[in-house]
């Protein structure tokens, strides 16, 4: 009788263990493993500048006073740097040092689409001047009164985008010396803006 009870109990235990094992096998197997990686890098110095108006006209009128005109541009940058302006004589090889027109509005043939380099090199008496308008993150660096050499027009000290930034051109006239030009000729100066990180 005692032996039968022992066998019955043992059987119950074995069945119990079997059930536990089956439940464990049938249950969802859960777990996780991880892996890590590092991403690092640097932002390259980048600048971008686009002139919203490639041509700006100044109405010189009757050749007196100091007429002005405005041009606009957009600048993007992520560094410390500057925007400079200069007479674009590198593009127009007729604006030689010898011609004495660098920094001045000079005789331009609209028919020939180039500057006139035959003596006398007709130009206005006074050099054109430029002044920038503050437009965050750009700060104007003061008036440029001589475009014959590259000169900072704006500075910037941190990243940002400046849209519709104004430049004011001023051309002082001398009605006793500035000549009126014939048809198909006008006074013109090529100006190039350059943006750069310092």
């Amino acid at each position: 009788m005692e032996c039968k009870r022992i066998m019955k109990t043992k059987s119950m235990i074995l069945v119990g263990v079997l059930i536990i094992a089956l439940v464990a096998m049938a249950a969802p197997v859960m777990g996780s493993e991880t892996a890590s990686t590092t991403v690092s890098g640097s932002i390259t110095k980048t600048v971008s500048l686009s002139a919203l108006s490639s041509t700006t006209s100044i109405n010189l009128g009757a050749g007196a006073g100091s007429p002005t005109a405005e041009a606009t541009f957009t600048a993007d940058e992520n560094c410390v740097g500057f925007i400079s302006a200069v007479d674009d004589y590198g593009t127009y090889n007729r604006r030689t040092v010898e011609s004495g027109v660098r920094g001045y509005m000079s005789n331009y043939s609209t028919a020939g689409s180039d500057y006139v380099n035959t003596a006398p090199f007709t130009r206005l008496e006074k050099k054109i001047s430029l002044l920038g308008s503050d437009n965050s993150p750009l700060s104007n660096a003061g008036i440029i009164s001589d475009l014959s050499v590259s000169t900072p027009l704006y500075t910037f000290t941190g990243p940002g985008t400046a849209t519709t930034t104004k430049i004011t051109f001023t051309q002082e006239l001398d009605h006793t010396k500035d000549l009126a030009l014939p048809t198909n000729y006008q006074y013109q100066i090529p100006v190039i803006l350059t943006i750069a990180c310092s």
Binding site: I13, E33, S42
Partner: protein, 176 residues
């Protein structure tokens, strides 16, 4: 006789417990994930920026379904509020820079899809785990290409002090 009975009961119970533990533990050991590459010198410029080096995960699972998540492991002093974004890091001192520069946009991580059993999705990297892969069949040594996108704008600063931008990513594979 009674002592013999108790001995048998204890023996069987112990064996059952061992079998149970083996069943629970062994499947975990059959699952793995590995990310051998890192991206050390990513040159970011304004724009979307896709990782220049192929980042590959190697995944093994014994069962399906399974999934892979990604999160920013912002341990080590990185401010949790910036998890998911590249933060200025000093490589010399191996520390995150206090009040350093932080890029303005979170990184996006995209898992690879391999028909018919593996579906990749895109997730914004952050402090919480986000799923980038799900699988409907067990895999062994399955390589999965991971694509990172790090948008950079002109508002994000160039670092002139020699520091770098850094983020640590943790991938986790789950099987259920």
């Amino acid at each position: 006789m009674r002592r013999l009975f108790h001995y048998h009961v204890l023996t069987k119970a112990l064996l059952g417990l061992i079998a149970f533990l083996l069943l629970i533990v062994s499947p975990v050991a059959a699952m793995s994930i590995d990310a051998t590459q890192s991206i050390p010198n990513w040159a970011f410029s304004p724009g979307p920026n896709t990782n220049p080096i192929t980042l590959t995960l190697t995944v093994t699972t014994e069962k399906a379904p399974w999934s892979v998540t990604v999160m920013d492991e912002y341990n080590g002093g990185k401010d949790a509020s910036y998890a998911g974004r590249l933060v200025e890091y000093n490589s010399s001192t191996e520390t995150w820079v206090n009040n350093g520069h932080i890029v303005s946009t979170n990184m996006t991580v995209t898992g690879q899809s391999i028909e018919p059993d593996i579906a990749g999705t895109s997730a914004t990297l952050g402090p919480e785990e986000n799923t980038i892969e799900t699988g409907s069949a067990a895999v062994s040594g399955q390589e999965l290409a991971i694509t990172l996108q790090q948008p950079i704008t002109y508002a994000d600063a160039y670092l002139s002090n020699g520091n770098i931008y850094r983020a640590d990513l943790t991938f986790t594979v789950y099987q259920t």
